[in-house]
Symmetry: C2
Subunit: 312 residues, 2 copies
């Protein structure tokens, strides 16, 4: 059984590759929920939705978010009512939020709701939110502390980042099955996700980092930083703003206490010795996932790194 | 100031005529809310929405419900999640329910929410729900007591009607402004709506029927039964099931204690003496509202009947 710690799109694309090379039933995905927000009375889980839509084949992969062939008629009508519309909610996407919100209000946990959604969409992987508690990432900027989606979507990640905090994280507990999966895993993969606001919250849930350090399973990471920048999203400027090195080395350092190996893009091969100096075996590979073949190839590299770590 | 007691589509079409011939600011509409229901966690007010969409020009008049050029993409996705989809919720329509539900959950009354919606859509008439309390029409059929929308939409009004009740009506109070409007009105019009489940609940809100009997304003009704049947909806079979005469006389009898005059379609002119025998002045007119001209003409007939009653 392979456990993947996942943020949004980068993780979702990696998972599309992984389920090509291992049976989906052998994959457990632990997903960041600290980006979750409430809008128009709906509970929205952007990272869970990215994984749901990518693994069900519904994702608009060209746009990088939401559902393919999406329309925005409800949003246009919300605008007529004077509602905030900076968060682009598609009509099909709305159905996901409606179902989730209704089930949560009926007393179901986010774990239960997420499981119901992935089954309805025919997804074989188990999808676990990192926690059933409400955790909210906030970004410190010159404009003050901003809720993550305000920083990321409404203000287009344009503010310099001075700090990051996860409100509610101290009281959060790992969702049912998370610690069990980490303990029982044959291998654990940190997806190529934002190390600060995607993987960061997962590891900050009390007990998760200790479980990663304690598990007998090897742990492999994949750098989301390639050639000094991110493929997508604000990870590079976040790392910079927080005083971290904007490179695979900077990312590997954040997780060096857990990592067996770290996959670095070929373009950054020269940084391999610096990764090794952290006590983490560097693995050089092509990490840009343009299409299905590259996604599967990267998954094979990660599985190979896990196998190699187990063999040592 | 003219007060209109209104149900759904028939009332909404009549109001489109009325605002052609009097200033919308002089019109107060008291709307049935006993058809309201909750679906997908959303609070839906079908009769309020019919009035909102017709008076804002958004209505799909050919279909008779919902918004013009509507799409149903959210509903299709809800179906993928296994949610009930017998109640056709359009994408644009969803926005109305989202805004209403969010404001209600935030503690606003249905009156306040309705006023916010009609202002956002540029509607000049005041729209008052009959009550801010939750009242729910239930229909007794051979299959048992059914919630109104289950009887009407899900089962397509196919069950014989044995009884009708309005749950919660005893504890309901008229919404703010309703009794004041009835007392201050220059004239009151009962729209051509279902007398049992549209006008019935409004008059059953404690205090409303007494206010209609006590007001100095004349009260004019318009028969929704023409030639022994309804233009739209199940009013005829409901009247029959409940033992009422399926004719303008049967409808006038239900409201004879309040009515000054009752407008009967030309096709039913022979029934005028039977209406008069109830102590209600019959007014013969064309009542089928095919287009804007017929709507305005019917409004003029109603205003004329009010003026005549005042002059007596």
């Amino acid at each position: 059984m392979i456990v993947v710690l996942a943020g949004g799109v980068g993780a979702a694309r990696f998972l599309q590759g992984l389920v090509q090379v291992v049976s989906p039933e052998q994959v457990v995905v632990v997903i960041n929920t600290a980006d979750d927000c409430e809008l128009h009375g709906l509970y929205i889980s952007p990272d869970i939705d990215s994984v749901l839509y990518h693994l069900s084949g519904l994702a608009d992969e060209a746009r990088g978010w939401g559902v393919r062939d999406e329309t925005f008629h409800a949003l246009a009508m919300l605008a007529r009512y004077g509602a905030e519309t900076w968060f682009q909610l598609g009509d099909r996407d709305l159905a996901t939020h409606l179902v989730r919100t209704r089930l949560l209000r009926a007393g179901h946990s986010l774990s239960e709701v997420t499981d119901a959604l992935r089954r309805a969409l025919g997804i074989g992987c188990r999808l676990l939110p990192m926690t059933d508690a409400r955790v909210a990432t906030e970004i410190e900027t010159p404009a003050g502390w901003l809720p993550f989606q305000v920083y990321f979507v409404q203000r287009r990640a344009a503010d310099p980042v001075r700090g990051v905090r996860f409100r509610g994280i101290e009281e959060a507990r790992p969702a049912p099955g998370v610690l069990e999966a980490l303990a029982a895993a044959d291998g654990i993969i940190l997806a190529p996700s934002n190390p600060v606001v995607s993987l960061g919250p997962i590891l900050a849930v009390p007990g998760v980092r200790a479980a990663l350090q304690a598990t007998r399973a090897p742990i492999v990471g994949i750098s989301p930083i390639v050639g000094g920048a991110t493929i997508k999203g604000p990870a590079d400027q976040m790392l910079r703003g927080l005083g971290h090195e904007v490179s695979p080395v900077g990312v590997a350092r954040l997780f060096a206490d857990c990592l067996s190996a770290f996959i670095v893009d070929r373009i950054d091969a020269a940084l391999a010795p610096a990764v090794a100096a952290l006590g983490v075996r560097p693995v050089i590979a092509d990490t840009i996932m343009r299409g299905p073949a590259e996604k599967a190839a990267l998954a094979r590299v990660a599985l190979g790194a896990l196998a190699e770590a187990r063999a040592r």
